[in-house]
Symmetry: C7
Subunit: 78 residues, 7 copies
Amino acid sequence: MSIDPKNPLKVLHNAINSTILIRLKDGIEYTGRLKVCDNYMNMIIEDAKEMLDGTVTAKFGEIFIRGNNILFIKPQAV
Amino acid sequence: MSIDPKNPLKVLHNAINSTILIRLKDGIEYTGRLKVCDNYMNMIIEDAKEMLDGTVTAKFGEIFIRGNNILFIKPQAV
Amino acid sequence: MSIDPKNPLKVLHNAINSTILIRLKDGIEYTGRLKVCDNYMNMIIEDAKEMLDGTVTAKFGEIFIRGNNILFIKPQAV
Amino acid sequence: MSIDPKNPLKVLHNAINSTILIRLKDGIEYTGRLKVCDNYMNMIIEDAKEMLDGTVTAKFGEIFIRGNNILFIKPQAV
Amino acid sequence: MSIDPKNPLKVLHNAINSTILIRLKDGIEYTGRLKVCDNYMNMIIEDAKEMLDGTVTAKFGEIFIRGNNILFIKPQAV
Amino acid sequence: MSIDPKNPLKVLHNAINSTILIRLKDGIEYTGRLKVCDNYMNMIIEDAKEMLDGTVTAKFGEIFIRGNNILFIKPQAV
Amino acid sequence: MSIDPKNPLKVLHNAINSTILIRLKDGIEYTGRLKVCDNYMNMIIEDAKEMLDGTVTAKFGEIFIRGNNILFIKPQAV
C-alpha cells in the first residue's frame, strides 16, 4: 500500500474492516474490527474487547470511542 | 443497517430511542434510552441509571450529559 | 413536549424557570431555578443550593455557572 | 431587572460596579467590585479579597482574573 | 484612568512598563516589568522574580510567559 | 539542510523515512521510522519500540500516534 | 532592540540562533539554540540539554518541542 506522507488518517481509513488496537490515555486498550472512523478519530469498533495490562476486562458487540481520549492506534492488530 | 465508514456519529443518531450505555472519563457509567444527541455528543438520556463498578448508584427520569466528558458509548446496550 | 432528536440544548432552554440539578466534574452539585442558559451551557441559577454527597454546603440567591465544568444536568429536578 | 433567557453574560455585564464573588476551579474565592468583564469572563476586580475555606488569605487593590479558571460567579455578593 | 467595562485586556495594555504580579495555575508567581502583552495574555516580563509562597526562587533578565497558564494578574504590583 | 525559521513542522516532514524518537506527556517514548506526519503532529511510525525509563516495553509493526499527546520529538534518533 | 508592545512572539523570533531556556508545565527545562519557532510556540532546539532541578538529565543534537506544553521561555539564556 502506498501512503500519502502528509495524511496519517488515511491509514486509519484503510484499516476499516480489519482488527485494530486502541490505547487510551489512561492505559485501557480496546481491540476489535474498525467499522467507522472520522477525522476526529471518533470510531465504531465491532466485537470489541477491553483490556487492562493485557487482561480482557469486558467484551462489547459494538462501541463508539471518542477520539480525543486516544493515545495511539495499532492499525493491523492481527 | 448499512453504515457510512466515515461518519460514526450517524450510528449514534440511529440509536435514538434505544437503550445505550455511556462511560465517562472518570469511570462512571450511565444507561438509559437515548432521546437526543448532537454532533458534540451532548445527549439526553431517559430512565437513566448511574453505575459505578457495576452497582447502580442513582436513577434519573431524564438527564442531559455533556459530550466532552464521554469516553465511549455502547449503542445497543440491551 | 415533542423534542428535536438532534438538539439537546433545546431541552435546557425548555427547562427555563423550572428547578434543575447540575453536577460538576468534581462531584459538587447545584440545584435551583434555571433563569438563563446559553449554547455553551453557561447558566444563571436562582435560589441555588450547593450540595456535596447529598449535604447542602451553601445557599446562593443567584449564581452564574460556567458551562465547561458541567458533567450532567437533570432538567426537571422537582 | 428583566433578563434575556439565552444570554447569561448579560447578567455579569449588569453586575459591573457591584460586589461579586468568584470561585475558581481549585476552590479559591475572590470577592470585590467588578469593573470590567469580557465575553470570555476575563474580569478586572477592584478591592479584591482572596479567600480559602472562608478565610481571607490576601488583598489586592485590583486584579485581572482569567476567565477560563472560573467555576461560578455570585453576581450580587453584598 | 477611565476604562472600557467590556475590555479587561485594555487594563493590561495600560500596564505596559509598570511592574505587575502574575500568579500561574500551579501557585508560582512572577513579578517584573511588563514589556509586551498580546490578546492571549502571552507576556514578556523584564527583571522578573519567580516566587513560591512569598520566597524568591529565581531571577530572570527577561522571560516570555505563555498566557494559557495564568490564573490572575495584579496590574500595579508596586 | 537549510530551514525556514518560522516552520518547525517542515523539519518533521523532512524526517520522513528516518528514525525518530517521540516522548509523550506521560514519559513514555516511542522510536521508529516516521512514515506519515500531518500538521497536528499525528504520525504513523513503523517498526516502533515503546520504552519507559530506557527499557523496551513493547514492539509494534506500525502505530498511529495522536499528536496532542506529544511532548517532544527527536527527529534524527539514529 | 525596540519591541512591539502587543507582539511577544516577535521577541521569540528575534531569539533565533541564540540560546534559550524553556520550562515546561511539569518543571522539566530545556536549553539550546533556537532554530525554528512558529506562532504556536512549536520550536526546534539544537544542542539541547534537558534539566530537572538544575541537573542535566539528557542531551539531544536537535529536538522539536510542542508549544502547548510550555510554561515560560527565557529568550537570552547565555
